[in-house]
Amino acid sequence: MKRKVEIKEVFRGVKAAFPSTVPIFFGWIFVALTYGVLMEELGYGPLWTLLFSMICFCGGMQIAAVPMMAAGFDPVQMLIMSYFVNFRHTFYGLALLEKYKDTQPFKPFLIYALADEPFSLAVSSDAPEGMEPRYFFFGQTLLLYVYWCGLTALGSVLGKIITFDTTGLDFALNALFIVFFLQQWKDKAKRPACIIGVAVTLLARIAFGPTMFLIPALAGMLLVFWLGRNKL
């Protein structure tokens, strides 16, 4: 499926997407700095951090991998772990099948980089009038990709210079998702799904404990949505 790409349109897409990405840029400063500092403490410099970010591009799992790497070399456990930690991304894909339908030749990149934040941006915004959506979505994801790679590498550099107690810095991510949740909550039609998402995940967390609950939560959500398919 070859489709012509107008370079001018790519620039327009990036420009149009830019305002919506700015809040995430700022939200990521804290997280990226934390990650850079953690990597630095483990002995990985900015170039290593950049490589991790460019190839993996999965904030939460990259951070979770730090203590796992400190514990030793276990690639099989790491692969299984990152699949399950990022299992929710499969659901992001389901949620974006329609929006990403006509996005060639950018589609592989959009899927490659389909992390929490690109997902939340793509579901909550649309291309401006008169622009092909594929350029807009590519602009969004490209900017976020560049931010994450740049900020984490920078965090690793700054980690050497800035020495302060970083306890609690990771709350930035929590705050970011609370805001994204509130944005969904604003739309009254989405509130039942909001409540189902919170309630099912909370129940799963209570029933299965902090390390095993994500898969049961996603399975439970599927079940509830299947049962309510004619009502929601």
Binding site: G27, G93, I111, T167, N174, L222, R229
Partner: protein, 110 residues
């Protein structure tokens, strides 16, 4: 570095492969040649808000409720985020302010 260069590169690949499988699956399963099933379309509509809820709970999965500070710093900082966002709808203010509030709480108060 606890791991060697080669070991680290293998770890990077392991993380990337695990992540990419989860991201590509739905697009490979519903590749556009056939009409997407109605149930999958419906999931595409209800999943975004539900997943945002899941992410919020996921963030607090390790918050101790019955021990330590009983999740009070988390509760106070989360309330700050919610109320400030309801008030100003400014993501930077809510994320930055909430994080600073949380850091002050866990480092100096609790």
């Amino acid at each position: 570095m606890k791991l060697t260069v080669i070991q680290t590169l293998i770890i990077i690949l392991a993380i990337a492969v695990g992540t990419q499988i989860s991201r590509w699956l739905p697009f490979l399963a519903f590749s556009g040649k056939k009409e997407t099933p109605a149930f999958v379309k419906y999931l595409g509509r209800v999943l975004p808000p539900a997943l945002m809820g899941l992410l919020v709970v996921y963030c607090f999965k390790n918050t101790p409720i019955f021990t330590g500070s009983h999740g009070l710093p988390e509760l106070i900082a989360a309330l700050f985020v919610v109320l400030s966002y309801e008030w100003k709808e400014n993501l930077l203010l809510s994320v930055g302010g909430g994080t600073v509030a949380y850091m002050l709480l866990v480092q100096f108060v609790f």
